[in-house]
Amino acid sequence: MKHLLSIDDLGRDGIEEMLSLAENFVEVTRRDIPKVPALRGKTVVSLFYEDSTRTRLSFETAAKRLSADTMSFTVASSSVKKGESLRDTVQTIEAMGVDAMVVRHSSAGAPHRVASWTDASVVNAGDGRHEHPTQALLDLLTLRTHRGPALDGLHVGIVGDVRHSRVAHSDVKAFHALGADITLVGPPTLMPESLEGWPARVVYDLDDVIGNLDVVYLLRIQLERQSEALFPSLREYTARYALTAARAKRLRPDALVMAPGPINRGVEIAAEVADGPASVITEQVANGVAVRMAVLWSLLGSGGSIV
């Protein structure tokens, strides 16, 4: 495998191999010295055309724990402000000698274009509404630590702004690949225009399914989209679709609560639920580093063992 641009690059076998590999890195991240020399001499650059803290820090932490050198590029402090094109930026950075580029961009497909311009390996760290494959992998790793390797028949509810969510897109593909049943929950304005290509069913009322879910996955309400009037008000969204303390009481006793972060406390999830016993949100963040170590190792160190 040269690049990781989409969950489709992996398929079921590739996903399972990557998760098994990530479990080795979970052990590494728990050591007193959480660092291995696996990628000494390699350089990983993060190329972020969109704001992000957790994903960029997670990738950079992963690279450092593999002993790779890291460089960071954010639009706010770069030559993009001077009008440099994406292609010129990529070629400039490549000329410095990098082995991998971690790309986030607001346009779907941008990482694919970057991959066509460079010999370096490219990892998609989120492109527009399209995909966020490492988020899906870390979600699966978190599920696996609680539910074992097979997700067959597990009922996952993905709640919120599915239409604009690259996380939902990658998660639906990945959860489906491992055998989970997926229900999308939210108001019609936040559901995909068409369910073609989405192996999932849609429900418009969270209260109809809340008691049947093994996993409640709460997408972030993108507050910046409020001006688009996709739902009447935050208060109404919260009333119908948030995981409030009252709704959380109706969850099955072994149900898990997940969210990609950053979370809006009091909007899509009540603070006490986010911090409650069913929540695995901080585990997701910790697993993110291990998953990204596995991805970088697969691309740069393993000699192409996966896929």
Binding site: E27, K35, P37, L66, G303, S305
Partner: protein, 222 residues
């Protein structure tokens, strides 16, 4: 009996093995140790480990994947029988410490699990075959990041020679002079199924067994 040795799980295909075979079909040369020989060798090594360290108290056995952890568990079982002490057993994966990353396919072979703090202990690394010594070197680096043992010793079931680094084993089941074109195949029931055994395979020369000991001018064990 040779049919039990499935080529798909020989050391040549084992991602942890130090060298890739020379290509071409190999044929069985010698069955070096049978199940009883393996059992006796491990019991002897278990005694030697305890004798060298004046008892089992500070000893931690750490197996290197793939077969090392199984051998370490057997050694611990033997020590428990004659000393009545359960020696801690760990497993170590050295993939991320190898010196041939980028030169060939490498994947971790299992989770590193060391049940105790190794600082101040005597760690006995355990592996099935000692060949170039590069796996052992990687293991020393990996151990260093987990703690500072008082001493590190090395136990192997077979030493086949051809060292490329200044590494030697403290405890050896069988010194087996080999040619580089040959392949030492270890079978342990709990990893490989079947019965325990060690076989020497080599290129088909048309004269079975005729050159099984030639070409091994490099080291022959200790």
């Amino acid at each position: 009996m040779p049919a039990q040795f499935d080529a798909a799980r020989t050391s040549r295909d084992d991602p942890a093995s130090d060298r890739v075979g020379t290509g071409g079909a190999l044929v069985l040369r010698t069955r070096v140790l049978d199940a009883d020989d393996v059992r006796r060798a491990l019991i002897r090594i278990a005694h030697e480990v305890v004798e060298r360290n004046h008892g089992p108290d500070d000893v931690v056995l750490v197996g290197l994947y793939t077969r090392g952890p199984a051998i370490a568990r057997r050694l611990a079982g033997a020590i428990e029988q004659f000393e009545g002490v359960a020696v801690p057993v760990g497993a170590l994966d050295v993939a991320f410490y190898r010196d041939d990353i980028g030169l060939r396919r490498i994947q971790p072979l299992g989770p590193t699990q060391i049940p105790v703090d190794i600082t101040g202990k005597v760690v006995v690394l355990v592996d099935d075959v000692l060949y170039t010594g590069r796996t052992a070197r990687s293991a020393l680096d990996a151990l260093t990041e987990l703690g500072r043992p008082r001493a590190v010793q090395f136990a192997v079931l077979v030493d086949r020679g051809h060292r490329e680094l200044p590494i030697r084993a403290d405890f050896v089941g069988k010194n087996l002079p080999t040619a580089e074109s040959e392949d030492v195949r270890v079978q342990l029931s709990e990893i490989d199924g079947g019965v325990d055994g060690i076989e020497l395979w080599g290129p088909d020369t048309g004269m079975p067994g005729s050159d099984a000991r030639s070409g091994g001018s490099g080291g022959s064990g200790r």
